[in-house]
């Protein structure tokens, strides 16, 4: 089984075999990250450019580390520090980057579809690091990797994703990936946060968090994205915290082996209480650790390479 695609733009339409190949490969890279020297020479001579047109800590650093751990040369560009400020178009920016011989472009952009637009116009592999409210495939993959590490398999798992589903690319990637790997997904949110046509995604929806949490194996809490809210989605953060926040009382009613996840960054005290976020069932920091291994796997599998006779007996 090979990953026979140039780009990773989303988990929608990705096959079970492809997802499992990435997750299996990530296991090997997790072992690499635990070594005394957590670095392999695999991608020496390759160049990766990380183009982040939105703020990011975890994802950007995670990609940078993944590239460095694979011995690729890596450069990061942010919107504020780029010629975008001087009026250069996105396409002109990446064409110039390609002229400098990049092999991978990791792109985060506020416009849904921006990575797809670039992928069809570049020879380099494009990896979507989050585009608008569309997808964030590597976050979905690392979430599934973390669940699989804990449960062994995702088949039959009941995953509840709670919060601002409407604006969440993490939720969308998780829905596509989790359904492909056999998990059932319940989206729980105030009705203003449930996107129209959500039923077509093959998920259950619920507007009562306490009902949604019954029998959950995983609770994935989403961030309230204040920066994307130009409408009147919530009466108040206080009300949201009371009705949809994962607080101590709700966490206490969960199954003993239920995982609590959050893609970060967290609004402590709004969507999740600090005691829950830092509690024994929380794997929020494991998600971050696993992110590097998963991104190494994605970059490795997209990088090509042929087996010649040199090492084959």
């Amino acid at each position: 089984m090979r990953l026979s695609r140039k780009d990773l733009l989303g988990l929608e339409g990705m096959s079970r075999d492809e997802i499992e190949l990435i997750l299996n490969t990530a296991e090997s890279f997790k072992e690499v990250l635990e070594r005394k020297i957590p670095k392999v020479p695999t991608l020496r001579g390759k160049t990766a450019v990380n183009l982040f047109y939105e703020a990011s800590t975890r994802t950007r650093v995670s990609f940078e580390l993944a590239e460095k751990r694979l011995s690729a040369d890596s450069v990061s560009v942010s919107q504020k520090m780029s010629s975008f400020e001087k009026g250069e178009t996105l396409l002109d920016t990446v064409r110039n980057l390609q002229a400098m011989k990049m092999d991978f472009l990791v792109v985060r952009h506020g416009a849904s579809g921006a990575p797809h637009f670039l992928a069809s116009r570049l020879d380099a592999s494009v990896i979507n690091a989050g585009d608008g409210a569309h997808e964030h495939p590597t976050q979905g993959l690392l979430d599934m990797f973390t669940m699989r590490e804990w449960f062994g398999s995702l088949d039959g798992l009941r995953v509840v994703i709670v919060g601002d589903v409407l604006h969440s690319r993490v939720a969308r990637s998780n829905v596509f990936g989790l359904r492909t790997l056999g998990a059932s997904v319940t989206l729980c949110a105030p009705s203003t946060f449930l996107p129209p046509g959500v039923a077509t995604l093959g998920v259950e929806t619920e507007t009562d968090l306490d009902r949604a949490l019954e029998g959950a194996d995983v609770v994935m809490v989403l961030r309230i994205q204040r920066e994307r809210q130009d409408g009147f989605f919530l009466p108040s953060l206080r009300e949201y915290a009371v009705l949809f926040g994962l607080n101590r009382e709700r966490a206490a009613r969960l199954k003993e082996r239920c995982l609590i996840m959050h893609p970060g960054p967290m609004n402590r005290g709004v969507e999740i209480d600090p005691e829950v976020a830092d509690g024994p069932r929380s794997v929020i920091l494991d998600q971050v650790t696993n992110g590097v291994a998963v991104r190494m796997a994605v970059i490795y599998l997209l990088s090509g390479g042929e087996v010649r006779d040199g090492l084959v007996n």
Partner: protein, 180 residues
């Protein structure tokens, strides 16, 4: 396609037993020894070598496996990536005498990759190279084995095939013409 058997099952076992004796003699016992096999067939041979060492010297020496995929020097061209099956060295390599085991020594590139990978785990006291078959005359790097099961003379259009029962259902070393 012509094929000849250079080591049938029984002789293959004798070779492994002899290698275990030679290693113990050179190390003056099993102290500080650890065995690391190169995936795939080298790993099976390494496990057998550990068993033989245990029979002769008593006590298990640590056993590890290296998957050299990420250390290959031929991954730069575009095409499908080899699947990684994972490295597992469940002991500290510092100050150990590492016996690196592979099935066939040919160009030396696999061994170079394996040595690089082991050194990323720490600084062993020394690394000895043990191979079941040494294809002499084809080295592309200055690498020489310390312990050899069988040295064979082959041409470029021949291939040495090591079969181990764990993978192939039989034990044997064969030389055959490469498919053209």
């Amino acid at each position: 396609m012509t094929e000849r058997t250079v080591l049938p099952k029984r002789e293959m076992q004798w070779a492994i037993t002899r290698l275990a004796h030679e290693i113990l003699e050179k190390n003056r016992g099993a102290e500080d020894l650890a065995v690391v096999g190169v995936r795939t067939r080298g790993a099976h041979l390494a496990a057998r070598l550990v068993e033989e060492i245990a029979k002769i010297a008593g006590g298990e020496v640590p056993l590890g496996i290296v998957d050299i995929t990420l250390y290959r020097d031929d991954l730069q061209a575009i095409g499908p990536q080899p699947v990684i099956r994972g490295t597992d060295i469940p002991f500290d390599v510092e100050e150990k005498v590492i016996v690196l085991v592979d099935d066939v020594l040919y160009t030396g590139r696999t061994v170079r990759a394996a040595i690089d990978e082991i050194i990323d785990f720490g600084r062993p006291k020394r690394i000895w190279l043990t191979v079941l078959v040494d294809r002499q005359g084809h080295r592309e790097l200055p690498i020489s084995p310390d312990f050899v099961g069988e040295a064979v003379v082959t041409t470029e259009n021949e291939q040495v095939v090591v079969h181990v029962s764990e993978e192939d259902g039989e034990d044997a070393v064969k030389v055959r013409e490469k498919k053209t």
